[in-house]
Amino acid sequence: MSESAARALAKMFERMAEAIEAEKDHLSELDGAIGDGDHGITMSIGFKAVSAALSALDLDAASPSEVMSTAATGFLDAVGASTGPLYATGFRRAAQTLAGRENLDLPACRDMLAALSEGIRERGKAQRGDKTMLDVWLPAAQAAATAVAEGRSKPDFWAAVTSAADNGAAATATMVAAKGRAARVRERSLGHLDPGATSAAALVRAMAEAL
């Protein structure tokens, strides 16, 4: 089933690109309030580059791991910014986890989410509660681990993951930023959603739809 796993991942990235495109203006607006107003643009450039990189890949021959690492490089080379290294490292770590795997079953998805959030954490040295995208990826990965441990069905798994992501994103409004540009405005970041967390929640929803 190598073909369909690679294709499923490619479809996932397509969905992610669509989700970002739909939220682009909203994300930039959120970033304008506490950052530099470019988050929607940056994410849009990044996922367009991922689509372009993947469309150059032979999905019949590629492994899921290759899809992930192609996405990582495509994203990084197009974007830079904070999100470039964060997601590129996350995707690379996910590619390592998927290496040798040909099947995107729930444990694979769990491991992918764990690797992704771990990569982001390592690169950005942020913690939960710092009002960043990690406040989405960490609870999402945690929910995935719990769901697998509890032997949940696929729909239940993704329902748990997306709801953890959405709650994490919503919770950033109550946090004072400790990382990234928003950390400079200190208490003034209170009451605003974190743009990176908001886009992360959209990405998780795109994952759920595609996988």
Binding site: I34, G35, G37, I41, G80, A81, S82, P85, R184
Partner: protein, 338 residues
């Protein structure tokens, strides 16, 4: 907000077309990468290479400071976005003269991550890399968290000193040390009257009320550290200089360099009015101005606002400040022997 634009998504690429053509005498693309430019007259064997860079939207930063006697190469990101590791690593290779390469850039999470990844790539190729983060925005963090501060227009001075040190053939250690000293002795505070607008949105990033100003404004259109009632030019400079004097341990008789910088839309006339008060405040403390720059040196698209940077000189920094350089926006000549 109206702008001269074609497709807003092409704005960085088109700007690069323009600036590469305009500044041909000073710089050229590295290979076929337009996001990595090298000084024609910069790198040479035995010299420490200086690589600078960051997002676009700050023009003439950073590209205007590439040339003989200043930076050897510049990596260029999207608007307000760090460049990715790849062009930075290309810059490191192009700038390398076998004596190591110094990275100098602003202290932002994104830049740090990308430059660090690039440093790893360069070091795998055997190029020793040192990094100095500019952190001159003194209101962006309290003094206990000096290392957490961001780099703003004062990077002008840090680049200048670093470029001169490299051009004089100092070692990588020495270049790093003096650049770090320049950064430690550079103090900037910015004030915005209106926020900037991105080419893609053509809306203000955020609104500043009609009677308000934003103190501690950064150079990316991100909000400053406090919103205050707008005051007179002299009162604004006084607030800024009070902040600077609180940290700068200058004695009567000391010398400084001054940069009064427009964030984009504030015209030169107002900058002179600000400079006037800066000069008065320094003179009252018997601090002499060794050199000054008043103009557009590190902007934030079309933001209305300005920043004041002071470099507290010592003998070594003074010499390096006057070291000749030739770049698109800064030409300093060897003083004529009388």
């Amino acid at each position: 907000v109206k702008k001269f634009l074609n497709n807003p998504n092409d704005v960085v690429e088109e700007m690069l077309d323009g600036l590469i053509a305009a500044h041909k005498p000073y710089l050229q693309p590295i290979g076929n990468s337009r996001r990595a430019l090298v000084a024609r007259n910069g790198p040479r064997p035995g010299k420490v290479g200086l690589v600078i860079g960051g997002g676009t939207g700050h023009e003439p930063c950073f590209v205007g400071y590439v040339g003989k006697g200043l930076a050897d190469a510049v990596a260029i990101g999207n608007i307000f976005s760090s460049p990715p590791p790849d062009p930075i690593a290309k810059c490191a290779v192009a700038a390398s003269g076998g004596a190591g390469v110094l990275f100098v850039y602003g202290n932002y999470a994104g830049d740090v991550m990308n430059f660090e990844m690039a440093a790893e790539i360069a070091e795998e190729k055997g190029i020793p890399i040192r990094t100095v983060l500019t952190t001159d925005d003194i209101v962006s963090s309290p003094v206990e968290d000096k290392e957490g501060r961001r780099g703003v227009a004062g990077n002008f001075f840090v680049f200048k000193v670093a470029g001169a040190a490299c051009d004089r053939g100092m070692t990588l250690d020495e270049c790093e040390a003096v650049t770090r000293k320049a950064n430690d002795r550079t103090y900037t505070v910015g004030v915005a009257l209106e926020s900037c607008s991105m080419p893609q949105t053509r809306r203000h990033n955020f609104e500043i009320g009609p009677d308000d100003m934003e103190l501690g404004m950064g150079i990316h259109g991100e909000p400053g550290v406090s919103r205050e009632r707008i005051r007179t030019a002299d009162e604004i400079v006084d607030t800024i200089m009070d902040n600077i004097f609180k940290e700068m341990k200058a004695e009567p008789g000391d010398r400084v360099a001054v940069l009064v910088n427009s964030f984009g839309a504030t015209p030169q006339m107002e900058l002179y009015i600000l400079f006037r008060r800066v000069e008065q405040r320094l003179a009252a403390k018997n601090i002499a101005i060794e050199a000054n720059w008043v103009g557009h040196y590190c902007t934030s698209l079309d933001m209305v606002g300005a920043s004041i940077s002071i470099l507290h000189l010592d003998r070594q920094l003074t010499e390096l400040l006057h070291h000749p350089c030739q770049t698109a926006v800064l030409t300093i000549n060897t003083p004529e022997t009388p």
